[in-house]
Amino acid sequence: MTMENRRTFLRNAGTAFGAFAVASRNSVAADADRDKVEDAESSMLDWPDGVGLPQGWRQMRKLDAHNHVMQDVHKPQADWSSVENLVAAAQALGINKLYCSRPVSKGILAEIAAVRDANDSVLAAMKRFPGQIEGYCFVQPGNGPAALDEIERCLEAGMIGVKLYNQFKYTDPIVFPVVERCIERRIPILGHSAYLTDAKSLAAQPLTSHALDFCELSGRYPELILILGHVNGGGDWEWAIKGLRDCPNVYLDTSGSVLEDDTIGRCVLELGHRRILFATDLTMEGGVGKILSAELTLQQREDIFWRNFQGILDRRAA
């Protein structure tokens, strides 16, 4: 790669990716643009495997079950650079699809208008990057029936599941109508999680659910497809894994900024690899790298990278 290309990638959101973005947002893109898209995709997958990693790792299929669109890209004159960076990074790492949400964070009990606004940014990203960005619908259960209407609006627009954050513990009955709607629609709930052992962190998000909350909810609703989000998202991951041992219907995603050895090995040992879903939650190189260096069979690695999550997605159509 030339220095000029490197500069383009580093400063303008992606090597030949600028062309990709243009073609993606234009449904009548010229053939020349489509050629550029294909060139961009193939050139990034031609990047070297590097040292010490499995051969052909960039070409391995990967579905990132937990990611985010965090900017107001649905508004006029929006700055798309962060989403373009996200998609470009995924392309370079061989991540085929990013399953994104935009939760209202910090425990804010957002009004439904704010919730809709957040989801609109994900919908805009889905529209601009069809086939690459898919969406989870964030809902705030305290919005009551409006939250259920929002789920329907999101599903109608093509989203694949629901994202819950830390406004309520998942054992709170206020969450149950959302759960029942997800069961009815055969869609997964991806739940923010952490077992926080640091007083400052816990004080900042006291209603964050941990593994036992997920277990309790799953026990009440065994049909629910429930995903414990980011096992490496900052809480005690060993506690999270052990807490899920007796809850066979709860999946776990591997994302988070913590990259500790041997998280994946412990997940597989305690829960079996079928319950483990690859995800990055914006820690993209780290998220891919830890699956690559975990001691897994090829079959296990593929199941974690995509097949387990594909099974969840396939249940919607069943």
Partner: protein
């Protein structure tokens, strides 16, 4: 060739780690294409007398003199630390010195910190400053160490203009602040917690501080090696070959003044 500038040997009190001995570390490095590693003792973090951890470390690494580069740990609150440092440097050829003010209970800018840093400068060795060993959101209730801050770092840099710093396991570094503190050209930043692609933290620091400021680091045995190997593979794709070589090993070799035997520097499969 790859030199990992961020590794430790020994046990950690709050969870098991898999690569505790030099032999296990070498085995793991071999499996992942790592040629050399800068290592310090985890025991030295937690023993009352850190130097006992140094003794174990130097004993353990001496069977791999061309693979493991030992760094001494000094606790300036402990009796006889100056003599212990002397022993680490003169007898065991320590290539750097780790200071852990949060774990050992002193300030880098206080009297003890200044004394230790001054002595490290006198030996013309780099100091290793690790921002954190693990994420505080998951810590054991006996683990009360806070992360080091950029403000502490820049204050130290200003107070010791000849001090060279390995910044290990840092995130959130601001190139402009480091330059203002006079750290350009005398700091080496381990990239274990920085990224190439999404936030472009590594390319930004390269632009601001020059490529000579960045080095491969993994934070073994705490973290997986894979994340850092993925980043290095992306650097191979995006950077000129000479910059890749600097980040992979040359910067570390220059910073720690290592003599790399001729014939060890060949490119492994997968490099640029």
């Amino acid at each position: 060739m790859i030199i990992d500038v961020n590794t430790h040997l020994g046990h950690y009190p709050f969870r098991p780690v898999r690569f505790t001995s030099a032999a296990r570390m070498i085995e793991h490095m071999d499996a992942h294409g790592i040629d050399m590693a800068v290592v310090s003792s985890l025991h030295a973090v937690f023993y009352r007398d850190s130097h006992r951890g140094n003794e174990e470390l130097f004993q353990d690494v001496r069977q791999f003199p061309d693979r493991l580069i030992p760094v001494a740990t000094v606790n300036p609150k402990y009796v006889g630390w100056e003599r212990d440092l002397e022993e680490s440097v003169r007898r065991w050829n320590a290539k750097g010195v780790t200071l852990l003010p949060e774990h050992h209970g002193y300030s880098l800018t206080g009297e003890l910190g200044r004394a230790a840093l001054g002595r490290i400068v006198d030996y013309d060795l780099p100091v290793v400053l690790t921002q954190r060993l693990e994420d505080r959101r998951q810590r054991h209730h006996w683990d009360v160490a806070e992360d080091l801050t950029t403000a502490q770092l820049t204050e130290v840099a200003a107070a010791h203009p000849k001090l060279r710093c390995l910044l290990s396991n840092w995130i959130g570094l601001n190139g402009a602040q480091l330059i203002a503190a006079g750290l350009r050209g005398r700091c080496l930043i381990d990239f274990a917690r920085l990224d190439v692609l999404l936030n472009k933290a590594i390319p930004k620091l390269v632009d601001e501080l020059r490529v000579e400021s960045i080095a491969f680091g993994s934070h073994l045995p705490f973290d997986y090696l894979g994340p850092s190997l993925v980043k290095l593979a992306n650097i191979a794709a995006l950077f000129p070959a000479e910059d890749y070589e600097k980040i992979a090993w040359k910067n570390a070799a220059a910073f720690f003044r290592l003599e790399i035997a001729e014939g060890r520097t060949g490119r492994r499969k997968g490099g640029p």
